[in-house]
């Protein structure tokens, strides 16, 4: 059995797959990778199924030892990874020999880097998923972020190493984007035309207190018209809710499942992965699209991801 030994954990390294759906009636949000596209690509680079569990690292990566070796790939943001003393690139699988160490540092681009190993990270599934739900301490590795001394198991794999890379146009698609596209939220009527104008014209800064539950934004406050009382209702992934103070919050993967604040907008499905790459102090703005446009963008993105030319095979490597 192959393992990963955690020498230093990094800022917040968690086991994530593509999340657990279908437990809304229990109050359980899906959780899962904050940048699901990077996780999917990372898994494909090592020949895993797209929803295999990998490690999600936030802003600062850790130091990991592979006593039995592994085939792995990094995806998402560049954390300046080094294998023993060799620099390794994001988006290229490599074979780690037994006893080698990977060191990841602070990010040089977005918020999250994914480490995918062939065979996936093996943890006991909770409600059908390996994803860590940090707030409730459920799922993943003991329901928490990794700590020094943790030993993770790697799932069984064929050790079939193929040299693969991600097509440049896919990487271009994944490059950071500071404009989030949104559709109108269910309570958009609660906001005046002038509030909406300032919301869409304004620049918002991602607050320091942001996490997998939500991103707090700093910027122009959005005023509601009149004082209305919301009845608590289900909230969507990417909902932009506006509490009484008027500064918006984007609800994210580990979100509360229901809430009582009006939602002015909602980040579209095709841009959710970009939210996962936003760092504190990043500046963003919102662009309104229709649901039909949002769907076209999603279809386009999925077509790109499904394209056979996305992952370039370079044949077996000796």
């Amino acid at each position: 059995m192959s393992t990963i030994q955690v020498q230093t954990p990094g800022l917040q390294t968690t086991v994530q797959d593509l999340g657990r759906n279908g437990f809304g009636p229990l109050g359980v949000s899906p959780s899962g990778a904050a940048d699901p596209i990077s996780l999917r690509l990372g898994n494909r680079l090592v020949g895993n199924v797209e929803d295999a569990a990998g490690l999600e690292m936030l802003l600062l990566g850790g130091t990991l030892v592979f006593p039995q070796g592994a085939i792995l790939a990094l995806a998402g943001s560049d954390f300046g990874a080094i294998l023993d003393d060799l620099r390794i690139d994001v988006g290229t699988p490599l074979e780690v020999r037994p006893g080698q160490t990977i060191r990841l540092g602070p990010t040089r681009s977005g918020a999250r880097c994914y480490l995918c190993v062939q065979g996936g990270i093996a943890v006991k599934a909770f409600l059908g998923s390996a994803s860590t739900h940090i707030l409730s301490g459920l799922g993943g590795f003991q329901g928490r972020a990794l700590r020094k001394g943790d030993v993770l198991r790697i799932g069984s794999a064929s050790k079939d190493f193929r040299r693969r890379t991600i097509a440049p146009r896919a990487l271009e698609h994944l490059s950071p984007r500071k404009v989030l596209r949104v559709t109108a939220g269910p309570q958009v009527d609660w906001f005046s035309e002038s509030s909406l104008r300032s919301f869409y014209a304004g620049i918002y800064r991602v607050g320091e207190q942001s996490n997998r539950m939500g991103l707090r934004l700093e910027g122009a406050a959005v005023a509601q018209q009149g004082a209305r009382q919301m009845i608590t209702e289900g909230v969507s992934l990417g909902a932009v809710q506006v509490p009484a103070g008027g500064t918006p919050i984007i609800l994210f993967v580990e979100q509360q499942t229901t809430g009582g604040y009006p939602k002015i907008a909602n980040v579209i499905a095709a841009d959710i992965h970009r939210v996962g790459q936003l760092r504190p102090r990043d500046e963003i703005r919102f662009e309104l699209v229709t649901c039909d446009e949002a769907r076209s963008l999603l279809v386009e993105q999925e077509n790109m991801l499904a394209s056979p030319e996305l992952i370039l095979e370079r044949g077996a490597w000796i």
Partner: protein, 272 residues
């Protein structure tokens, strides 16, 4: 115009979903259109629900406009139908007081088709039986370190802490739904004499098992989360436990009653 949504957004202008009752109809062209009407025009037909796009991959189905038993039962009925006969492409359901948020895979389903399918479900709502929920006891140690806000709640209402406990434990509460965090049950209604506003500034963390009240609701925090409800006691039993056959102690539609226990009993149960 800033607030567009495929040209199909509710053209209700200043009329909000929750402040009026809207019925969706079908035009001869097959496009749904909105007949927004006053409450006096409201009919209790089975298809009287209102759809609202929440995002490009979710739809809110409103089954009432106020927190009532009737709306709650309609939510339970629709939830039961959707759980018994899942719609292909639907990923998740989030029931609440008078609505269900239906999240779907936008590559497999769109709002128009989902609304059409849901109309079929809504037609069967009245004929759908709902099972009687279980009645569960939540042993609770009130006051002291477990209920730091008990005295303040009593003072706010001009009654004694013992009366707060008596009132709180006198009701068989309905589990309206589970939401917020795993296993958090929204229980109601609190006796009018206990209706209390939230704390002005929420606690950064509430100990798991804390029993809180807010407005006319009460509930138990399953995990250490931030929280603005006033804490009057704590239960030693786990509201949500992964190892258990049924992970959540309470389910939508159950009833729950708080039974006062001593600190000694709390300690004994906690270590049981």
């Amino acid at each position: 115009m800033l607030c567009k949504q495929g040209g199909r957004r509710f053209d209700a202008g200043h009329v909000h979903p929750l402040s009026s009752w809207l019925t969706l109809g079908r035009s001869p062209l097959g496009e749904s259109h909105v007949l927004y009407n006053s409450r006096s025009m409201q009919t209790r037909t089975t298809d009287a629900a209102q759809f609202q796009r929440a995002s490009d991959q979710s739809l809110l189905v409103y089954l009432g406009q106020r927190i009532t038993l009737e709306a709650h039962e309609r939510v339970r009925k629709l939830l039961r139908l959707l759980e018994r006969k899942p719609i292909a492409g639907v990923r998740n359901l989030n029931p609440a007081y008078c609505s269900i948020l239906v999240s779907f895979d936008a590559l497999k389903l769109n709002h128009r088709d989902l609304e059409e399918i849901l109309r079929g479900y809504l037609d069967r709502l009245d004929a759908t039986p709902i099972p009687k929920g279980r009645e569960l006891q939540i042993p609770t140690c009130y006051g002291g370190e477990f209920g730091p806000d008990l005295h303040e709640v009593a003072a706010l209402h001009g009654i004694t802490p013992a009366q707060v406990i008596e009132l709180h434990a006198s009701v068989s509460y309905i589990v309206y739904f589970l939401g917020f965090v795993p296993g958090f049950a929204y229980l109601g209604e609190l006796p009018e004499a206990l209706a209390t506003p939230r704390l002005d500034s929420p606690r950064r963390s509430t100990p798991p098992g804390s029993v809180g009240i807010a407005g006319k609701q009460t509930g138990v925090y399953p995990f250490a989360t931030p929280g603005g409800w006033r804490l009057i006691g704590r239960t030693p039993i786990a509201m949500f436990r992964p190892g258990r056959k049924v992970v959540s102690l309470l389910s939508i539609g159950d009833r729950a009653r708080f039974t006062p226990i001593s600190a000694a009993r709390f300690a004994a149960m906690e270590h049981a």
